[in-house]
Subunit: 229 residues, 2 copies
Amino acid sequence: MPHSPPAVCLLSGGLDSATTLAIAREQGFAVHALSIRYGQRHAVELQAAQRVAQALGAQAHLVSELDLRAFGGSALTADIDVPKDRDEQAMAAGIPVTYVPARNTVFLSLALAWAETLGAQDLFIGVNAVDYSGYPDCRPEFIRAFETMAGLATKAGVEGAPLRVHTPLIDLSKADIIRRGTALGVDYGLTVSCYDPDAEGRPCGHCDSCQLRARGFAEAGLPDPALQQ
Amino acid sequence: MPHSPPAVCLLSGGLDSATTLAIAREQGFAVHALSIRYGQRHAVELQAAQRVAQALGAQAHLVSELDLRAFGGSALTADIDVPKDRDEQAMAAGIPVTYVPARNTVFLSLALAWAETLGAQDLFIGVNAVDYSGYPDCRPEFIRAFETMAGLATKAGVEGAPLRVHTPLIDLSKADIIRRGTALGVDYGLTVSCYDPDAEGRPCGHCDSCQLRARGFAEAGLPDPALQQ
């Protein structure tokens, strides 16, 4: 069996990160999946992350604890209502209140810390600049800047080993992501996308994330297995 | 009273970060001090941080919880002996085992998250490239790359407000830092620098950090008030 280089993949338990993990595996990496318990209201996604990591053959899965609620400022972690039933225009109009401050910066930094101890030069993150819903830290220029910074931050960088941040979904539509993942055997029934699920983890169907997901499955011409359970 | 813009200052409870906080205050910022409980063996430094924040007039002090021990890889958080009685040559020879993977990246990212919710454009960190003991994430090129990345990561960046990472100690020797802080009224008796203090918080006197501190006070021609208690 050929040697599989280690990689760290951020895994939220949602559709995008599950697809990203499957792509990292397809590319031959020994995937170390990292989830963050950051005080999110939708902690049910961490259970989804565990199921996904196991189903897709991650070599390891770590849940890192970090309380972002102390900083306030987001409907995902603070006591602000998650917006419902917004149309595409409203979603595109600006940064939504569900934005978590500096989230991808913080999460990629934690991934970098683990990568450094593993000796991994590869990080995977399922950001997407097409259906990105207005988050500044999902844009390609942010990712490139993080990569540059990370190369200067670490032992590996100092010793001349580049650090790569892979964003295999960045130019894909939600429908493309679903088609790609389906071809790789991802069971989307294991994933949770909703920002505001009920206590049993059932999606609300009305938040931005539920709407983007429903539109993606519709455009891909596929049923959403998470709605058929 | 003139308006004081908010700034976030990373505060470990050590000599450097205490001096940095004093400088930020002198520059007119309303300082929000951020300490991280990251599983360090020298948790006594967090008590020092609280004393320092209060003594130097920080507007707020937040301790953020983050368990870096899960990632392993450092004598500060894992079960590896802290090196003692190394000479300057040994300290300069490479990255020490007390290095915490991606620490400044992670800490600055958390500072950025708080800054974003505060509407602050200024971060302060007491890194030092002179006596930096071999840490890659204490170098000016790392700081500039972080600043660039942060400007692309945040709402403020998207809306055209630059983010500044202030490193007022970066070119100072330890003796210069001590002179500067003493002139600003910093009580170094409140600070803890040791990597391996005893249960009462008394410094070991032999780790790299204790040695650098002792040399700094000697060169500045000042007594270390922490040793006189």
